[in-house]
Symmetry: D2
Subunit: 354 residues, 4 copies
């Protein structure tokens, strides 16, 4: 932490800074500059409280933090990539893992049919919401535990592990009974009690970035989970809120290489919420993998125009099946693999762009 | 809801739209335009699901919602201003109510001393956090129930009603035992389970706007509370997240007259979080009241440079006492009242600007 | 400027930094910290190029600028408030100056009629566009020099000085022949050639903040004007672009006290573009003055629903005349004055809030 | 255009709307709904002025535009992709075109050396700034015409066509003498006089998206160019301004498929300004091509840590040469081609991800 003094700061003001830092138990080093002096604070980790305390002292112009606020998620202390294992699927290794399924579980038939279709096209995990956060209180909010049971049935039928959202600390145990991966949604990215609750669970956690959450804050949210002893965290970029209204969110694909640089955790991308329009999803699937994403989570529905939620951003089975071979080709082009059940890759590599 | 067809949409495509709407149980009316036709959907309220379903039909270019998604919070159905009563204080009437106190309750002495000071300066309610959401897991997170007890003691001593934050549905009962107003923080503005839990409580709710929440979504969050039968909702603008980094957030004061127009609920402003810098707080207090706010919530600390949280944006007792007479003068200038314990208003109206 | 080295940076890497700084002609001071070392760069002003050069050196984690990038606009070197004189009106002194008029000059009658009406209500300057930047090429773009002539006529009739926009360096001379204040619009806030052209003119400049321009960048834009020798710069906050769509822009009123702190230049507020809706304008006028603005620029039109541009955000004569006495009362409450032609202030101070 | 009436709108108010539309020369059709009526306005194109006029009429709640505001850039009227030809390079066809070079032309040697290096690695056009817009007036602003001459020399040496920025209408002729493509920078995206000036030139125009410009507004900016008769417009996504501060801008790659859907114009991506950090550039190059971009514009410098501008986001020759074969592999994977001078593609397709 560096304390930048105002141009005319007095010797006494500098000493007050030094004393205040000492009260927190840290050392200092003073640099007298041409125009202004600075006081370097030695020690780590330095609390936010110290920063705020120093900012208020007379003669202080600014306090600049130079050490990171997170440790467990940082690549500095854990240089090797973390690979999260979900049953037989590894997320964060060479293979690109695709999670697909409907926004909401609507019926047993719907989820089983979808599970079969996405598996046939190359998905390795099944998504489906049983508890849905909705902006309006007058919309469908999921089937609850019944939905979880249908998901379990779909897993039984297809072998696909299940990713599903948990909304509240008191639901974690119940959801963890059925789910293979506990999803924390964008709206709960900074719901710290929920983060700690999933941190105590023994299941992998898929942590979506909040709509207005900076990358550093997102990593701090992951730190909450890891601080409870759960190291199986998968980050998921799903778009941030900006002034652009054509798309539902602005998918921040640069977050992929940024996270890769700052952290050892795997990162996947959600192009469905990231764009809000189904016809933009395939391009963003390809782009995300090209950017280095370890996987994708994509909304697929047997009949999007009859979906109970997020129909506008859901792919049909056919759309999904069409894009997967192209996705595999892109994965290969960037040195990753995405094994498909059957379709010969040679053909697809030559197919025209959409 | 209006379904805008593409320029070359066929008669058959229009009929598919009409049929799909009928499946949802609503009527339609077709307008054939020069360039494109539109289908008006008759009925209210129309679910989001219908909108998404129609957007996916062939030949449909866009679906535009023209009815509001909220009802209980809307001024359309409740033209008279709601006044929320907290013990002897009315929020939403002619009087401007100021809530003041520290970010966190740190000790019994601290909260009682602050309560006395802010009361003497004209505050009508006391704020103080016992449960603090923090971006980093390594910061002070509040005293919990002990903090609530200190708050109650401060109320006993001063008579000031208490506003304090609740973070999770399972804490609502406990917090409601002590608090006069249940605060839902910005990070929980779209935590729907928490909204419903405070909606079931019999206490007024102070609902902060989320950092990236549009006004319509904020009103829908209030709708969640009201839909559970709790009509005592106070909205609180506290700044939104933008590209400007000098201030912690961008205080959106236009939200005050916007909310006044759309809703009957009272709205207050938090200039402390709205700016993040104590020296900007007084100007924004004055501006908020001039804009028509029904009250303010302001961070005040006996010793900001020793605060355990938010020191940088906290006023000292002296700063707070200095601005209050000027605030009363502004209130009067816009036809509101803000009675102060003693200071004669005639003088303050002539005091120089800061 | 402070160069933060990576945790494991070598002595050699630190020396490379020192050498590179020396090539630019500046000195350094090294602080060895617990976890990482820092190199302080001594000297001012330090160019961006140096910052970028250092960021690329091996072992460097981050380079933090601690001196301001602007000088002439800074309060550090010019502690006294600048007052800009436009004929008999002073902007930046104790009096709050209101500039009013239509978005576009549409006819001689329209501008003269408006000038009379706004003068009678208390405006001290007249605004009106002769050259209009429009998002679509198919809209009305102003009367050009004819519009300037009508403005001059309106000034003759009423004595109100004229504020009008200039769009291009080659138009500066022509516009300056007629105008008393040269307005640089939000879209041109970073059009550096235009800034230099108005910097060479001998007329005051009203510099609007760009839609996505940070306060520091806005001050740097003002620095461009001042660097050409023109010290008569008035800053104008007019709303920034955010995710909120109900209002046309988000009016950032905290920019007023921020600018007052960082700079000696006067700052005014444009609540018309800041909100985009006429019924929000009066509240934001009051709030801006309460926040400490030195003036306002407001769109007023004899017949907003027949305006050729910006009708939706224009006040009628009556709306404008109604708000002015209330504005004067707010000005007085914050220790400023806003002398009105006739209306007795005592009455208006008691009128109810809108 | 659809006029949505308020719930209690009277017959008379509806008739006023109809009359006002008729004054503009357009027809109407009324739909009486359950809760509110709507008036459809028939005709195209409908001016913004009409929209604003109607919004102000009593009983009107909202006016919704349903026709696009641009025509010439729209795919509706021009379904076939436009291919822009720059000497022997086609932009917008099957081949992905890479434009590379330094931010600023600094010397004859620098630009020629860079031209040779980027050509050898597979670039098809050379970029380099002779006129640089800079946030601070105290930075290097380009060599002016001398820079243009050096660019021309580099073209002579290598055959690479030149892309360079023009800042002002009066410079268009001079720049067009040397340049093959006239670049309009992000800060000038809504500088309408400049757009018209390049619209009159007989050279292709590369139009960057402004930092806070919505896609629709960007297309309207292109419409300004096309409305002057110049159909050779290349759009360039270069990142938008958001709350995320780790990257210089947020690269909005979804804009690529959005533009492809709405317009026939080619679109390329600038990952250098889009991220601001050289180590993020390669990933974003790959992602952009996977998303369907027709080309890239990338900053490459012989010695980034000695660059006079934008060093932090410039690739070295080696970085650039390393990523190109991988880019070609991604292009092939999505059905596009990117012919490289020599490197065998088979090898690169198997190289590991960075």
């Amino acid at each position: 932490m560096i304390v930048v003094m105002e141009p005319g700061a007095t010797q006494e003001q500098i000493e007050t800074v030094v004393k205040r830092v000492a009260e927190f138990g840290f050392g200092t080093k003073i640099v007298v500059g041409a125009e202004r002096s600075i006081v370097g604070v030695l020690g780590a980790p330095l609390p936010d409280t110290l920063k705020e305390a120093l900012e208020l002292l007379p003669g202080v112009e600014e306090v600049v933090r130079i050490t990171k606020r997170y440790k467990l998620v940082s690549r500095d202390f854990h240089p090797i990539d973390t690979v999260v294992h979900v049953r037989d699927v590894a997320i964060g290794g060479n293979e690109v893992a695709v999670i697909a399924g409907p926004c909401s579980v609507e019926s047993e038939e719907q989820i089983i049919e979808t599970a079969r279709a996405v598996k046939a096209a190359g998905a390795r995990l099944l998504r489906g919401g049983a508890y849905k956060p909705r902006t309006s209180p007058y919309e469908f909010r999921g089937l609850g535990e019944t939905g979880l049971k249908y998901l379990a049935k779909a897993r039984e039928e297809t072998g696909l592990p299940i990713v599903t959202e948990v909304l509240s600390p008191q639901d974690v145990d119940l959801v963890a009974e059925y789910a293979d991966v506990l999803q924390v949604g964008a709206r709960n990215c900074q719901n710290y009690l929920l983060l700690e609750a999933v941190g105590k669970a023994k299941k992998p956690v898929l942590l979506k970035r909040g709509m207005s959450v900076q990358i550093e804050e997102w990593l701090l949210a992951a730190e909450y989970v890891m601080a409870q002893g759960n190291e199986q965290v998968i980050l998921c970029e799903r778009g941030i809120r900006t002034f652009e209204t054509f798309t539902r969110n602005t998918l921040d694909l640069a977050a992929v290489p940024v996270v890769k640089r700052l952290s050892h955790l795997p990162i996947i991308v959600d192009p469905s919420h990231g764009t809000g329009r189904w016809y933009l999803v395939p391009s963003m699937m390809l782009a995300a993998v090209a950017a280095g994403a370890d996987g994708l989570i994509v909304e697929v529905h047997p009949n999007p125009d009859h979906a109970l939620s997020d129909g506008a951003q859901s792919l049909t089975f056919e759309n999904f099946a069409t894009v997967m071979p192209r996705l595999a080709a892109v994965a290969q082009a960037v040195g990753r693999s995405l094994p498909l059940p059957q379709v010969p890759e040679a053909e697809t590599a030559l197919s025209p762009a959409d």
